[in-house]
Amino acid sequence: MTSMTAPKTAPTEERVTPGRTRSTLAGRLIPYGYLSPTVLLIVVLMVVPIVMVIGYSFQDNVIVQENPVFAGFANYAKVLTDPDFLAALENTAIFITVSTVAHLVLGLAFAMMLNTQLLGGVTKAVFRIVYILPWLFTIAVIAVIWRLLLDPSGVVNYVLHTLGLVQEGVNWLGDPGKALWAVTFVNIWSGYPFFMISLLAALQGIPHHLYEAAAMDGANWFQRFTHVTLPQLRPVIVSMGVLDLIWTSQQFALIWMTTGGGPLHATEMLSTYTYKQAFSEYEFATASAAAVIVLLLTMILAFFYVRQQRER
């Protein structure tokens, strides 16, 4: 073993007297230096594209022609009077509302089952894995699985037929009257585990003495649920609900890979409508207008989310 001693070469005076004005200026700039990577990324990846899309939405013949012209609100008028857009708006509203409510109800029910004292640790672990499985698949896999399951000669129809519930194969995704409900169901299936996990964590954080106090006061199971569990979970439920509304409104891949917005626009969503405007009709101006409308709608939801977070 050899011991090494660091040579004392650092001049002491440099440590003491840095130029005062330079240090103040540099000191002021340092925080911006640290912030600059993030600020730049936000500007390049978010601000610039958003401003460009908003710009496109007020012009005509954007992107595909070299000299776009200012069109005022013409694109917005065109989009807002397009029956396909209005159908997409209605479908999206149904899709996100039903999905979010079902995610919440299913997530809460499963979370409470997994939080119960009645089941053993191993059983709970097994169920945890089973319940979380849908969340582990990517949307592409989910779309393929459910297309096969819901095929007129697929497994779901086979089971229903065997049980005598249907006479012949039901056209779940191909029937305009059923397609929206079928894709909503698939979305519910794929999204509830996230709610379940978050609510389970929140449930485990509720102090036990609250339940004991309620029990001492003579509260039954339902009263404990409504007066202890729900109020304690409220912040999580509201945050998750608003976030889920935003996320679900952006669902594109699942719809595109199962029904493509059809049959007969029955599952047309704002996302698929915008995509078709841009990449099939090359109407980037109306696509931008539709995208801005979606952005505004989403911002309303985001406003409630931020306000709710502040209240906390």
């Binding site: 440099e14 440590r15 840095p18 540099a26 340092i30 230096g33 640290y34 600059s36 990577p37 730049l40 990324l41 390049v44 992107i63 595909v64 022609q65 070299e66 297309r147 095929d151 007129p152 000669s153 012949e168 194969g169 056209n171 995704l173 191909g174 029937d175 305009p176 397609a179 595109w256 890979m257 199962t258 029904t259 493509g260 917005g261 059809g262 049959p263 007969l264 626009h265 078709k276 990449f279 099939s280 009709e281 090359y282 980037f284």
Partner: protein, 429 residues
């Protein structure tokens, strides 16, 4: 120590900021067609072909070219069809297309209008290229923008076992015979249907391959003088024929959201007796169901039709970006892919038909069905009127939606065709 710490942090802060600026600058300065210091040129070639060929085969063909032309390097950007399409649409919009691009006939009109792909006629005359050897060229206003390199035809696929089981002795050659055969096949079992019709609107090419193909097989056209003519007798008879198949209950259920791959799967599983499909799927079907007995035939025509039968096709087309600085080198590569030997070789491994008239694909190692299909192809003519039309996918989609209304009984054939005619006319302008 404290000051040292501050200095280190200051340096890190500045370095991070500088690195971010450099990164952002690098993102913005990406350009294709670079010339290296040794004078060699690198061409980017975006296509979906490499993804559809056996692994490594396309690289071999490209490597042969670079061996012959050491001053040209080819960078292959291979991705599946759908992502290539999306990438090229955005590339065309932002004028950042790779130097050489694989094209589908459906995109050509729009890309040419945007000025994203260059006029190949000029490059061909500059290079004294003999255009007589090309099987076809896709032109807009008399200028060539795309050359089909390999063509894939869409004949009728027939499940022989199902046909025999249904008591149909002969593969149908007329629409009446087809309806009759489809009815008989559908009668053989509750899960079996005569025909599959994929009408999914996400990728509405079922209109081209499975609907309009009936029109072209009888020598019909959906255009008159380059303008849509959907209300005329030929298109009307096709839609009425498809409706009669639907009314007879011989179309596999779920057709309104069925995709092309579902159609192939149902045929492979014996759930559908007949389908119109790409020849390229023969190997897939044989791999998934080696014992399936099927054959390919020309599409049935209208009763009494004796003329040549159009057979729908899709192409691996090629074009050159207008923004590339190396057009001559790019065209050299294009003409290499279209040269007699290379084109024959490429067609053989792709199981398609060559874009060079003189190229002879080698069927010796292929399935005998390819030879049959080549004979059908040579007896008829390649027909795909959607190639070169503006917003062709949108045209297919609007027709698709009207056809869906007809098949669900929500509108009449005449009204649907009048609506389609109206929307197509507005696109043609």
């Amino acid at each position: 120590m404290v000051v040292d710490g501050i200095r280190v942090r200051r340096v890190i802060g500045a370095a991070t900021a500088a690195a971010t600026v450099a990164l952002v600058a690098a993102c913005g300065s990406g350009s294709s067609g670079d010339t290296a210091s040794d004078g060699s040129v690198t061409l980017e070639f975006a296509q979906w072909w490499g993804a559809e060929l056996p692994a490594g085969e396309f690289d071999k063909i490209v490597n042969d070219f670079t061996a012959q032309n050491p001053n040209i390097k080819i960078k292959l950007l291979s991705a599946p069809y759908a992502s290539t399409k999306q990438q090229l649409i955005t590339g065309a919009a932002s004028k950042t297309l790779p130097d050489v691009v694989g094209l589908d006939g459906a995109w050509v009109n729009d890309f040419a209008k945007q000025g994203a792909i260059t006029d190949l006629s000029k490059l061909m005359s500059d290079a004294n290229y003999d255009t007589g050897q090309l099987a076809s060229q896709v032109q807009i206003k008399g200028k060539t923008y795309m050359i089909p390199v390999v063509n894939f035809v869409y004949p009728l696929f027939v499940n022989k076992d199902l046909l025999t089981k249904a008591g149909v002795a002969k593969v149908p050659t007329t629409r009446t015979q087809f309806l009759d055969a489809a009815k008989k096949i559908s009668a053989t079992g509750s899960d079996v249907k005569g025909w599959a019709l994929p009408l999914d609107t996400a990728v509405p090419n079922g209109i081209q391959n499975d609907v309009m193909s009936w029109l072209w097989a009888s020598g019909g056209s959906m255009l008159t003088d380059g303008k849509p003519n959907l209300t005329g007798a030929p298109v009307k008879s096709v839609v009425e024929f498809v409706k009669s198949l639907n009314d007879a209950g011989v179309i596999a259920p779920g057709s309104l959201t069925m995709k092309e791959q579902d159609k192939v799967e149902k045929f492979t599983n014996g759930q559908v007796g007949m389908m119109i499909d790409s020849l390229a799927h023969i190997n897939l079907i044989k791999k998934n169901k080696p014992d399936l007995k099927f054959e390919v035939a020309a599409l049935p025509a209208e009763d009494g039709y004796t003329g040549k039968r159009g057979i729908p096709y899709a192409s691996w087309g090629i074009g050159i970006s207008s923004s590339t600085e190396h057009k001559a080198e790019a065209f050299k590569f294009v003409s290499y892919l279209l040269s007699k030997e290379t084109n024959a070789n490429l067609s053989t491994i792709a199981n398609g038909f060559p874009g060079n008239k003189n190229a002879q694909p080698d069927f010796s190692d292929s399935d005998p069905l390819f030879k049959t299909a080549f004979d059908i192809y040579q007896q008829g003519y390649p027909a795909n009127e959607f190639v070169g039309l503006p917003k062709s996918e949108d045209l297919m989609r609007s027709f698709d939606e009207q056809l869906q209304l007809v098949l669900t009984g929500k509108t009449s054939v005449d009204d649907a065709l009048a609506k389609s005619q109206e929307s197509w006319t507005s696109v043609f302008g």
